[in-house]
Symmetry: D2
Subunit: 322 residues, 4 copies
C-alpha cells in the first residue's frame, strides 16, 4: 500500500559537456530563468516553478542525470523515508544541502540513478521588476522563447524495470499508474506517481543494454499550440527534434522530444494529459499487441533511437548527435 511521504519532484541536476549551450537552450527557447550560478553549475526554473530552482546544469565530460530530488510531504515524512531507505541498503547518507534547499538524504535506485529526498526548500522570490499581480504565479510570464510552465517528470532507463519500480513503490510510496508488459513477461516500462499526475517518474527498459542511464526530463506546457510554436522556433535554430508533436496512448501525453545541445533528451509536455483522482486506481497494463496505439495514439511516430539512446551515451546506441 502507498504511503503519502513523497509529495513531488523537486529538481533535477543534469550534466552537460556544453553547459553554456545547454543553458542557452533552456533560457532562449524554453524560457527558463537563471536564479543563480555557482562554480560549474547554473540553477534554473520555469516561470511557474515555486522553488529556487528545478533544474541545475553542471559541467561534466558526459551528458546524463547527476541526480534528481524528491520533496517529502513533511519533515516527519522525510525522516520516515530515510529510515526506510537506510534499511534498504540503497541509502548513501545526508548532505548539508545546496543552493535552494537544506539537508537532503542521498540514495540510489537499484539501477544506480542518484536521487535525494528533502523537506527544507527555499522559495523563489521575484525581483521587483519580475513581480506579478497574478498572486499564484511566482513571477511575470517571460518574454523570451516559448516559456515552459513547470517541471513535470523524469524518465529513467533501467536494466530491470520491475526491480526499480518495486523500489520506488516500496521505499518511496510511488503508485503504479500504467505499465507495458510483453508476452514473455518482460516489463518494458512503468509510469508511477505520488499525485494525480500519471507520472512524476517513468522507468523504461534500456534496450541499449546499459545500466542507470537517463532518458529524459519533461517540462510542462499545457497548451498544444505552444509545442507547435516551440517546434517552429527550434527548427529555425537547428535544434534537433527527435519526435513530435504527437500523442502517446500511454499517459495520454501530447509530447515533443528534443535534444538539448549537451546531448540530454528533453520532453515538452503539451497538454494536461489526464489526472488520476480515483484513490483506488487499478494500473493500466498495455500488452504487446496493444503497444502500437499505446506508444502513438496519433501524430509523429518515435524513431528507433528513442528506445536506444540515453545519457550517458553507451556508444551502443546509434549516434544521432554530432
Amino acid at each position: 500500500m502507498s504511503n503519502f511521504d513523497v509529495a513531488q519532484l523537486a529538481h533535477v541536476e543534469l550534466f552537460s559537456p556544453k553547459p553554456e549551450d545547454t543553458v542557452r537552450f533552456f533560457t532562449q527557447f524554453m524560457g527558463l530563468q537563471v536564479t543563480e550560478t555557482k562554480g560549474q553549475s547554473v540553477y534554473l526554473r520555469a516561470y511557474e516553478d515555486f522553488y529556487h530552482h528545478t533544474l541545475k546544469i553542471t559541467e561534466a565530460k558526459e551528458a546524463g542525470m547527476a541526480h534528481s530530488a524528491w520533496r517529502a510531504s513533511s519533515e516527519a515524512a522525510l525522516y520516515q523515508r530515510v529510515q526506510s531507505l537506510e534499511k534498504s541498503g540503497y541509502g548513501k547518507g545526508w548532505i548539508d544541502g545546496d543552493l535552494g534547499h537544506g539537508q537532503a538524504y542521498q540514495f540510489q535506485t537499484p539501477d544506480g540513478h542518484n536521487m535525494e529526498i528533502l523537506w527544507d526548500v527555499e522559495y523563489y522570490k521575484a525581483p521587483e521588476d519580475q513581480k506579478t499581480k497574478l498572486k499564484s504565479r511566482p513571477q511575470k510570464r517571460p518574454n523570451v522563447g516559448i516559456p515552459a510552465r513547470r517541471l513535470d517528470h523524469i524518465n529513467l532507463m533501467c536494466s530491470n524495470v520491475t526491480q526499480n519500480k518495486n523500489f520506488m513503490a516500496d521505499e518511496l510510496g510511488f503508485k503504479l499508474r500504467e505499465n507495458i508488459l510483453m508476452n514473455d513477461g518482460l516489463e518494458m516500462g512503468a509510469w508511477m506517481s505520488v499525485s494525480p499526475l500519471v507520472h512524476e517518474i517513468a522507468l523504461m527498459k534500456d534496450l541499449g543494454g546499459a545500466k542507470g542511464r537517463f532518458h529524459h526530463i519533461a517540462y510542462w506546457y499545457g497548451y498544444p499550440q505552444h509545442l507547435m510554436d516551440l517546434a517552429d522556433l527550434l527548427v529555425e535554430n537547428d535544434i534537433v527534434i527527435e519526435a513530435g508533436p504527437g500523442k502517446h496512448g500511454v499517459s495520454q501525453a501530447y509530447f515533443m522530444y528534443v535534444f538539448e545541445p549537451g546531448g540530454n533528451r528533453v520532453e515538452m509536455f503539451g497538454d494536461a494529459g489526464y489526472l488520476i483522482l480515483d484513490p483506488d486506481w487499478k494500473p493500466v497494463t498495455w500488452k504487446e499487441e496493444e503497444l502500437d496505439k499505446g506508444i502513438i495514439w496519433y501524430g509523429s511516430p518515435l524513431p528507433e533511437e528513442y528506445f536506444l539512446y540515453g545519457t550517458p551515451d553507451n556508444k551502443v546506441s546509434k549516434v544521432i548527435l554530432k
Copy 2:
C-alpha cells in the same frame, strides 16, 4: 492540519424544472453520456469520467443542487469522516446507496447544502461499440457536441464563507488554496481542495442574501479552443452565455459560464489552471484592492448577476432567464 480522508468530488445531483431540456443541453452541446434513467432522474457522465455517473438530473419545481458527493480515500477513511461528522452535529445518517454507488453518509454544510460521503462506487463499463483502444479512457471520444472531459468542481454560495470553509477543513480535510478578504475583514470567497487541483469546491459570499444556494458546477475541457467551439455552438442555439471565455486571476482558470435550460449555472473549465504540488502551500489571499485582476486577469468580464444569481433563485437577484 489536513487529513487525506477525502479523495475527490464523485458526483453532483442537480434539480431542474425542465429536465428534458437540461439533459439535452448536457448531451447535445457538452457531449455528456446518459448511463441510466430511473424515476424522475437521469444519470450522466463525461467521457473521461470513470464512474457510473458524475451528474444526476432530477425533476423538481426549482433549479438547485440536490446534493454533492465526495469519495473517501478508503473504506477506513470513510468511517473516520463519518465519526467526525456525527460529532459535529451536521450529520444526517446513512443511505443504502443509489444507482452507481453503495452506502453513503449524508450531511449538511452549516449553510444547509446537502452532501454525502461514500467509498463504494460502480465503475462505468463501456458497451461494445463504445470500447476504445486508449486504455486509460473509459469510452470512445463522443461524436456529438463539444465533449467535456470530466467533472471538475462545484461552487456554493454561502451566507457565511468562513464558517463553511472551516467546516470543510475541519470535518473533511479540505485545504484552503486561495481566498478573498475584504478590507473590513469579510471573507468573500474561498477555494479549497483535497488534491493538487486548486479547488474541488469554492465557497462564495451570497450577495443575494440567501442561504444554502448553488452557484455552479464545472466540467473540465482542458483546451481553450474547445471553449470557443462550445461558445460558437451555444450562440447558434440560443443558449445564454453569462460570461467568458476569459481568464480568472483567482485559480488561474480559463472559464466560461452558461445557464443550462433549467436555470443552473454551468462552468466550462478551459485549460489546466495550475496544480498545487507543494505540500506546504500557503493560501493565496486576494485583498480588496487586488480583486480587479483577481476576478478577471484578461478577457470577458463578469456581469453583476454573477454575484447575485444562484439556484434556487431567491427572487432578490435580477431575473435573467425567462
Copy 3:
C-alpha cells in the same frame, strides 16, 4: 501573364466503391452536410461553403476524381476561357448543368483529369432550423463530428508536372506560387492559385507511374486543435490516418492526410497557411537539397506511399487499404 478569369474551386466529384461509407465519413467525422441525393450521387458541403455543394460522391467501381469544377470570375470571363480551351484542343464541350449549377464547359488536363468551368451557381439556402444569426455564415455550425469549414484545394498526380502546370497557367490563368525542382531538372510538384491562397490546385509527379490520377481533396479547418480533435476521433473509429498532424514547409500548411473508406485521400488543412497578397510574387522554388525541410517543417513525416498511392489505384503502389 495571369488573367483573372478563374475565381475559385467550386466543387469536386469523387468516385467511391463504398458510397455509403464515404458519405458517412464526410458527414459523421468531418461534419459535412448532405444537400441533395440523386441517382448514384450524394451532394455535400461544409458549413461555411456558400454554394449548393462542394463535394459530389458518386458510386463507381473504383475510387478517383470524377471531375473538378472551377468558377469563373464573371459570365464574360467564362466565355473567354471557353474560347481559349476550345483552341487548346483540350476542350470537350458544354453540358446543361447539374444539381447546384447551370451550364458548364468540360475539358481535360493534358494528363487526362476531367474538369469543368462554370459561372451560374445555386446558393445554399438553409432550412429554417439551420438559419444562423451570423450573417456571413450560410448555416449553423454543425453539432456532429469535427466540422470542416470549407473546400480548400485539390492535388492531382501527373505523369508530367510541367506540362500540366503550363496548361493551368496558360488556359486558366493560374499563377505558380511554389514548386519543387530536382537537380536533374525534373519538376516534382507545383502549387498554383488564382487567389491569395497558396494553392487551389497542386500538381505532383506520379511516382507510381500512372497518368491522370487523383492525389487528394482538401477541406479547410483553420485551427490546429481541430486536427488533433479529428485525429482522436478517427483513431477511435478505425479510420486510417496516413500522416499528420504536421507542418509542411512547402505551402506552410498544417496538414493531416486520411483515407476515406472508398479509398480516396483527404487532407484536413489545419491553419491558415500564408496568403500571397503581393501582386508581383516570385515563385518559391525548392531544390532537391532543400526538400527535407520543404516536405516536413516539423511533426509527423510522410510515408513512402504518399508519393505512390493515388486513385484510381494502379496496383503498382503498395496496397494500404483493405
Copy 4:
C-alpha cells in the same frame, strides 16, 4: 463595378508622442522587427511581412495615422488609379518615395485621411543570422514577445461612412463586403476589400463627432492561443487591453484591442476569419436589431469608448489613457 488596380495594404505610418515606448511595444510584445531608423521615424515589419516595412512610427505631438499606403496591382494599374484620383479632386500629387519604396501618389479620403498609392517596393532582405530554410518566410520566427505575422487592415473613423465608402469603391476599386445600416438609414460601418480578405479597410462612423480620425491598425496572428498569450503578457506589463479576446459577428474576426503607449489603438487578429472567394459576393448588411450579435458573437464585449475614442483624441471622447 470593381477594378483590380489595388492589390493590398502596403504600410501604415502612425504618429506617436512617445515613439520609444511605441516602438518598444511593437518590438517587445508583438515581436515586430526594426528594419531601419531615419530622422524621427522608425520602420518596422512583422516576420511574415515581405516588404521593407509595414509600419512607420514617427514622433509627433499627437497620436494618429500619418498616412496609409496601398500597393497597386501593376505599374499600369498605378497610373490608372492616379489618373482617376486626379480627376476626383482628392489627389495631392507625387512624392519621390521613402525608405522602402519608390514614387508614390498622395491623396486624401473625403474625410481627410492621408493615403498614398505606389507600385515600386523594396523587399526585405534578411541578414545572415535571420535567414530561414522556410523559403516562403522572409526571416526566422522571432524569439521575443508573441510575434504577429503580418499587417492585416486599418480601420478609419469617418464623419460620413457612405461618402468615404463610395470614394474607396469608385476611386480605388474596393468591394463592399459587410456593412451596418441603422433603421434611420445611417450607415454606421463598412468593411471593404480588394482581395478575399473581408477587409483591408473598415470605415466606422465617428460617434465622437470628429473628422478624419484613426480607429485602429490590425496585425494578424492567425492562432487564437496567441491572443491569449499576448493578453497574458500585456497584463503582466501594464499595457491596457481595451477589449477581447472575443469574436465579432461582423467579419467573423477573433479580436483583441490594445492601446499602444502612444495612444493609438491596435487590433490583434487571432484567427483566419473567413475568406470571400465568391466573385459575385453580395454585401452582408447588418440591421440595427441584428447588431447585438454582429458586434459580439461571443466573448469579451466592447466598451463605449470603442465607438468614441480615436486618434488624434478630440477631447470629446472619454479619456482612458494617462
